[in-house]
C-alpha cells in the first residue's frame, strides 16, 4: 500500500499519464536541511560524537584497555594539557599512549584524555536509552489516548485492574496473603466482566452486576490526567530524589530520566492522532476492514512521528545535561568509571590551579548538547512546513 506522504509533487501532468515525482520526500527534506548551516554543523558533530563514543567504548573498557582511564600516577598529578610525561619516574606501562597528556592529568595523575574518552560513551548511552524509553512510553500512551480516547472505562474494569495491580504490588512487597486474595478477587471480577461482555445484548444483565458496567470516565481523561500528574513533579528534583534513594548505577539513571520525560512525546502523539483519526485515508482503511493495530502502527504512527522525532533529538540533549548535573552532584555512575559530570565535579576543587579539569569536560558537554539542539531545531524547521521561510 502506498504511504500518504511518500510521493509528492506533480503526479498528474496534463497528459493524464502517471509519472513518478522527481524527488522523494526524503530528498526534498534533505535539500532543505542542507541549506541550514547551523543544523548541518550540528549533524556533523553528532555523527563525530557517535563515532568517538563507540571507539571510546572499545578502547577504554575491559581488563587491559588501550587507553587506561583508571591508571593512577601520583607523581604526575595536575599536569597541564599538552605537557610531556616525566619519563624517569614512570614505569614503561604507565607512559600515556599518545606520548603526551593531551588534556592534562587530574589530582590522582590519571590521564584526562582517557577519562573523557570513557565518559563520552556514558553520555551517549544515557541520552539514547533514556530518550528511547521516553519515546516508547509516550507513543504508546499518547496513541491510546488519541485513538481510543472516546471509549469509556467502566467501574468493573477499574476495579479489576486496581485489584490485580494492587495484589501484584502487595505480593512483591511481602504481604503475600492479602496480595493473593486481591489478585483472586480481581481475576474473579475480570472473569465476570468478560462473560457478561460476551453475552451483552443477548441476555439481560442480572441486577447486581449492571453496576460493573457503569461508565466512570473516558480513556482520554485517564491519559491526560496522567500527563497532568507527571507534569506536577519538579523534574530535576524528582530525578535527584529517586537516583539518590536507589543504588548507584548508570542504568537507574537512564530508566529514571526516561520515566520522567515521556510527557512531551505523549502530548504530541495524542494531538496528531486526534487529527489523523478524522482523515479520509483512515476512514478508507477502516472501511477496507484493516485491523485497529494495523491502522495504528502502519498508518498513523509513521504520520505522527515527525514532532516526536524533533522532541526526541532535543530530549537527548536534555538527558545528557541532566546526567552531567547528577554526576556533578555526586550521584550516578559509581567511581572509578568516569563521566563528564564527575570529571568536572572533581575538578571544582582545583578551579584556579587546574582550570582544564573544568574547561575540558565543560566544553565537551556544551558542544555535544549544542549540536543536538541545533540538529533538532533544523529538523523541526524541515518537518514543519509552517515554520519554513516564505
Amino acid at each position: 500500500m502506498m504511504g500518504v506522504n511518500e510521493k509528492r509533487g506533480s503526479a498528474f501532468p496534463e497528459g493524464g499519464v502517471l509519472e513518478t515525482p522527481k524527488k522523494t520526500l526524503f530528498q526534498e527534506n534533505w535539500g532543505l536541511f542542507r541549506k541550514n548551516r547551523l543544523a548541518m554543523a550540528g549533524l556533523m558533530i553528532f555523527v563525530a560524537f557517535f563515532i568517538i563514543a563507540l571507539t571510546g567504548r572499545i578502547l577504554t573498557y575491559g581488563r587491559d584497555p588501550y587507553f587506561n582511564p583508571a591508571l593512577v600516577r601520583l607523581q604526575e598529578k595536575l599536569r597541564p594539557p599538552l605537557s610531556k610525561p616525566n619519563m624517569e619516574t614512570l614505569k614503561p606501562e604507565e607512559v600515556p599512549r599518545l606520548g603526551i597528556y593531551l588534556f592534562g592529568t587530574d589530582d590522582l595523575g590519571r590521564d584526562v584524555f582517557s577519562r573523557m574518552f570513557q565518559g563520552s560513551w556514558v553520555s551517549l548511552t544515557v541520552g539514547f536509552v533514556a530518550v528511547s524509553i521516553a519515546v516508547v512510553i509516550g507513543v504508546f500512551l499518547g496513541g491510546i489516548g488519541g485513538y481510543y480516547g472516546s471509549s469509556q472505562i467502566s467501574l468493573g474494569y477499574l476495579l479489576a485492574s486496581v485489584l490485580l495491580g494492587g495484589g501484584i504490588i502487595g505480593i512483591l512487597l511481602g504481604g503475600t496473603a492479602v496480595g493473593v486474595l486481591m489478585v483472586l478477587l480481581g481475576a474473579a471480577v475480570a472473569a465476570v466482566l468478560i462473560r457478561m461482555g460476551n453475552s451483552k445484548g443477548k441476555r439481560p444483565i442480572p441486577m447486581g452486576f449492571s453496576v460493573l458496567f457503569f461508565n466512570l470516565f473516558s480513556v482520554d481523561v485517564l491519559i491526560t490526567g496522567l500527563i497532568d500528574i507527571m507534569l506536577c513533579f519538579p523534574s530535576f528534583f524528582l530525578i535527584l530524589t529517586v537516583v539518590a534513594l536507589l543504588p548507584a548505577s548508570i542504568y537507574n539513571i537512564m530508566i529514571v530520566i526516561g520515566l520522567t520525560s515521556w510527557m512531551g512525546a505523549a502530548r504530541f502523539v495524542r494531538a496528531e492522532f486526534l487529527s489523523l483519526r478524522e482523515q479520509d485515508f483512515i476512514t478508507a482503511a477502516t472501511a477496507l476492514g484493516v485491523s485497529n493495530w494495523r491502522i495504528i502502527f502502519r498508518h498513523m504512527v509513521p504520520n505522527a512521528m515527525s514532532p516526536v522525532l524533533v522532541s526526541a533529538t532535543i530530549g537527548i540533549a536534555t538527558a545528557i545535561l541532566t546526567e552531567a548535573g547528577l554526576s556533578f552532584l555526586g550521584f550516578g555512575v559509581p567511581p572509578p568509571d568516569a563521566t563528564w559530570g564527575n570529571i568536572l565535579s572533581s575538578g571544582k576543587d582545583f578551579l584556579f590551579d587546574a582550570p582544564w579539569l573544568t574547561f575540558v569536560p565543560g566544553f565537551a558537554v556544551l558542544i555535544v548538547v549544542l549540536a543536538f539542539n541545533l540538529f533538532g531545531e533544523g529538523l523541526r524547521e524541515v518537518l514543519n512546513p509552517k515554520l519554513r521561510e516564505r
Binding site: 497532568d228 534513594l245 552531567a324 565543560g362
Partner: protein, 318 residues
Amino acid sequence: MLAFLGRSLIQKIITLFFVSVISFLIIYLAPGEPSQIDPMNPKFTQEVLERFRKEFHLDKPLHVQYFYFYRDLISGKSVSWKDNRPVLGKIYERFLNSLPLFILGTLITWTLSFPVGIHAAIRRGSFYDRSTTFLAYLLISIPGFFFAYMLIIFVVTQFHVPVIGMETFGISSAGWSWLMDRVWHLLLPSILFGAGGIAVLSRYVRNQMLEVEGQDYVRTAKAKGLPADKVHYKHALRNALLPFVTMFGLILPGLLGGSVIIEYIFSWPGMGRMAYEAILARDYPVILTVNFISAILVLVGTFISDLLYMVVDPRIRL
C-alpha cells in the same frame, strides 16, 4: 465562568491527591530506610532504632503512614527527622533566602528577553537575528554548573570580589561595603538563574512575534502607509504579547525547580540546597513537603494562567 472554575478546581484537587500518593510511594518503596542512614554510628543501638521507628510511625502499614504524614503536614505539625524542627518553619526560612535570587533572576529574564526577541523578529534573517539565535542555543546548551564556574573564574580574577555564599563571613553589618558585598554575592547566581530563561523566553517571543507579523491585518496596516514603528509596536506587539500574560502563572514553580545546582555551587542557603541536603539525609518529611508544595505551585500557576487568559483574550471566553 463559575462552572469552569469549579470544574478546574475539582480536577486540580484530584491531581494533587494522586501526586501526593505517587511521591509518597516513590519515597517509601525505595530500598533502604532512614533509620539505616548511618549504620556505623555507635549511638544507633537496636533500642534507639526501635524508638526512632515508633516515633515516626515507620512500623505501621503504608496506608496508615500515608494518613499520618499528610495529617501532620496539613495541620503544620510535621517535623524534620534530622533536627526535629517544624518542616514548614524550616522551609519558610529557606524560602526567604531564595526569594531575592528568584526575584532578581526573573526580572533579568523578563526585562531582557522581550526587547531581544522582538528585535530579532522584526529584523528576521539579519545578522542580529542570527547571532541572538545562536546565543540563545548556546545558553540553552551550556551546563549550568560549567557556566557558573566560568563566571566565578572571570569575576574573581577580574574584580577580586568574593562570590560564594550569601555574604562574606564576618563583614560589618552596615554601610556601603556591606551592601556592595551583598550585591556581588547575589549577582552571579541571579544571572545564572535568569540565563536559561532568557534563552527560552526570547526564542518564544521571537516566534510569537513572527506569527503575528505574518497575519493579514498587519499587512493591511503596512499597506495603508502607517509608519513601521507603529505597525510593529502598536498593531503587532499587542497581539503577540497575549500568550505571555499567561506565563506569569507559570513562573511560580520556578521558585523551586532548577535552583538545586546553582545553590549548591554558591553555597546559597536556599530551598534548593535544603532539598539537596534533605535527600542526602533521607529526611522524608522535608522531601515530601517540598514536593507537595511545588506541585501546589504548579497547579496554582496553571490555574492563574487559565484565568488570565480568559480575562485578556475574549476569543476563548466561555
